[in-house]
């Protein structure tokens, strides 16, 4: 275990920034989100939940995929993919890290999504274990240990130091780069913090949600549950939950006409939107209830059914905090999950 004094973190960022990009929680216009680091930026590692999850590091809200030049009847396709420069994604919370694994199963499955893959491969992930979980956190429900070592490097933060442990080759390489800044020590502090945090987590109000009913064999039973209508009644059909969610990965592919040709780009999309499934001859989901149901069924039943039981929710609690009308996956789990959730 290595460590660095909190006051010297800026040196650490600067050192990383010398040879690669650094994507880190930064406060901008009052809100903390992952941004590219630069001297003078206000880094906020203490922020438990960035508004947007770090997924936009690999799967940006909007990205150009290719360009077309058209001349008469002819089309030329221009590949705009480029070599990605190495990046460090710093301060990722354990839940957000597990969410990246959820995304991996989608984007890295055959056929591989090269846009995602190139960023993923060029990135070293430095996680930051939690020490002050909130009442909206429920990662434990999904088997995530918020104090444990995930990612290429894991760090723990207390009032004095940042503790550092490399877990992978990529992580070792990064550690080697920062050799001069890190010193030995910290095992005892980290162990103490882990113990204290686990005690908090065990007592969180959502830590004991029961997911046992959400399994593939109950798919149709859950789908037909009359409770969806009531649960979705207040849903505005906005995309807040989707866009702040670290595991939502639906996207749209669209064309933008410029004076010189066409840019084909993809951007985040939300199954909560009425035009998500709209086709020229109809729409398979015409009511907000159906759209609401789709989002939660996908997270709790469809995705696990396709991925050996892995849920497409990591309990980060962003939707709990951000839904304008306070609807969220916890309420769904409590309503449909059976009596153990009362």
């Amino acid at each position: 275990m290595l460590k660095i004094a909190k006051e010297r973190l800026n040196d650490l960022y600067a050192k990383i920034n010398e040879s690669m990009g650094l994507f880190i929680p930064i406060k901008k216009a009052g809100e903390v989100n992952y941004h590219v680091w630069g001297e003078g930026k206000e880094v906020s590692l203490e922020t438990l939940k960035t508004v947007k999850s770090p997924k936009n590091m690999f799967f940006p809200q909007s990205e150009n995929m290719m360009k077309f030049k058209t001349e008469g009847k002819n089309i030329e396709i221009i590949d705009v993919r480029d070599e990605k420069r190495p990046f460090v994604l710093f301060g990722v919370k354990p839940c957000d890290y597990k969410a990246i694994e959820v995304l991996d199963k989608v984007f890295l499955a055959d056929p591989v999504d090269s846009y995602y893959q190139s960023r993923r491969e060029a990135t070293t992930i430095v996680t930051l274990a939690c020490s002050k979980p909130e009442e909206s956190c429920f990662c434990k429900v999904f088997g995530i240990d918020a104090t444990a070592a995930y990612g290429d490097v894991t760090t723990w933060l207390d009032d004095e130091n940042l503790y550092w442990q490399a877990n992978t080759e990529k992580g070792e390489a990064l550690t080697a780069l920062l050799k001069g800044l890190l010193e030995e020590g910290g095992e005892a502090e980290v162990a103490a913090q882990q113990e204290a945090t686990k005690a908090i987590i065990d007592n969180l109000p959502f830590s004991n949600l029961d997911l046992s009913r959400f399994k593939p064999e109950n798919l149709n039973e859950l789908f037909d549950d009359p409770a969806w209508a009531e649960m979705s009644e207040a849903c505005l059909g906005c995309g807040t939950c989707t866009f702040v969610c670290p595991t939502c990965q639906c996207f749209d592919i669209r064309d933008f006409k410029t004076s010189e040709g066409v840019i084909r780009y993809r951007c985040w999309d939300s199954c909560m939107y009425s035009d998500f499934t709209l086709m020229a001859h109809g729409n398979s989901r015409t009511t907000q209830m159906q759209r609401f149901r789709q989002r939660f069924m996908h997270k709790l039943v469809y995705y696990p059914s396709q991925n050996d039981g892995l849920y497409s929710c990591v309990g980060c609690g962003r939707c709990v905090n951000k839904c304008p009308q306070r609807l969220n996956i916890v309420k769904v789990i409590k309503t449909l999950g059976g009596k153990n959730n009362d």
Binding site: I75, A109, S114, L219, D269, Y302
Partner: protein, 275 residues
């Protein structure tokens, strides 16, 4: 740089055939004049016009055609409208093939086959019918029931009347919804016609057409004693990526683009009713 499925190939339209007032069949090859890629019957491809949009279409031509691919496309939305306005020589982009094909090499082999199509629903079936014709010895008797609103709406009537009807051990039954001058064939809806024909329930059936036709035809087939596990159909939902990532065509634990579009009726029974 590694291959990326979302980046399409360029296709050149070498022929456009107007099948019905709102259906055209486009013949497409690569810029080198060769077929763009190999596929199996029932598989689809994403065709796009840059600046307009990209849509999933069933590949209508048989995989046994080594020269080109064909798409029968009905005019019904933004992209298809622009496609219909294209002329021979125009370029489009094509990527694929996507989806699961009909089990022509597995479950269909050695079986008597029944194909039931309505309107543009013939498009995906034409591919498999011609495939079966090509490897005729591998399959038993073939019965085709095809219906449309009027005789002008029957897609690809030339091929049907000139080739299919003359094929040995192959029966073709055509029907249109309402009586029409110049039509001396059967008049009536497909589901009713299917029941009238009193088909052998031991055949393996493939249905393709508007949802309402599928619903009633399936009911008819079950009445005749067909087994759901030997009835196939295709689904259609909005798609963007074609490879099960964009999330759009998700029904239950399936993605229509990747796990479909061909589904066995028993598989559909397990899916939530949202397609």
């Amino acid at each position: 740089m590694i291959n990326e499925t979302l980046i399409p190939k360029i296709g050149v339209i070498t022929d456009i055939r107007k099948d019905t007032p709102d259906v055209k069949t486009f013949r497409v090859v690569g810029t080198d004049g060769k077929k763009l890629f190999q596929h199996m019957p029932g598989q689809c491809a994403m065709v796009s016009i840059p600046g307009v949009g990209e849509c999933m279409f069933s590949i209508t031509s048989s995989p046994t055609n080594e020269e080109y691919m064909e798409f029968s496309i009905k005019k019904c939305g933004c992209v298809t409208e622009v496609l219909h306005a294209l002329e021979v020589g125009a370029q489009v982009t094509v990527r694929g093939p996507y989806g699961k094909n009909f089990p022509v090499e597995e479950d269909f082999k050695g079986k008597d086959l029944l194909f039931i199509a309505g309107g543009i629903g013939l498009a995906p079936l034409r591919s498999v019918i011609n495939y079966v014709r090509h490897y005729r010895a591998n399959y038993g008797k073939v019965v085709i029931v095809y219906g449309a609103r009027s005789k002008d709406d029957l897609v690809d009537i030339d091929e049907i009347q000139n080739e299919w009807v003359n094929e040995p051990n192959m029966e073709v039954y055509l029907t249109i919804d309402r009586p029409q001058d110049g039509w001396d064939g059967h008049v009536g809806f497909v589901p009713a016609y299917v029941k009238e024909l009193g088909l052998d329930p031991n055949m393996t059936a493939v249905l393709c057409g508007p949802p309402i036709m599928i619903k009633f035809t399936l009911a008819g087939l079950l009445e005749l004693g067909f087994d759901k596990s030997r009835v196939y159909t295709t689904l259609e939902l909005r798609m963007k990526c074609g490879v099960g990532k964009c999330g759009r065509c998700n029904v239950g634990d399936k993605f229509v683009c990747k796990d479909g579009p061909v589904f066995r009726m028993t598989e559909l029974d397990e899916l939530p009713d949202e397609y």
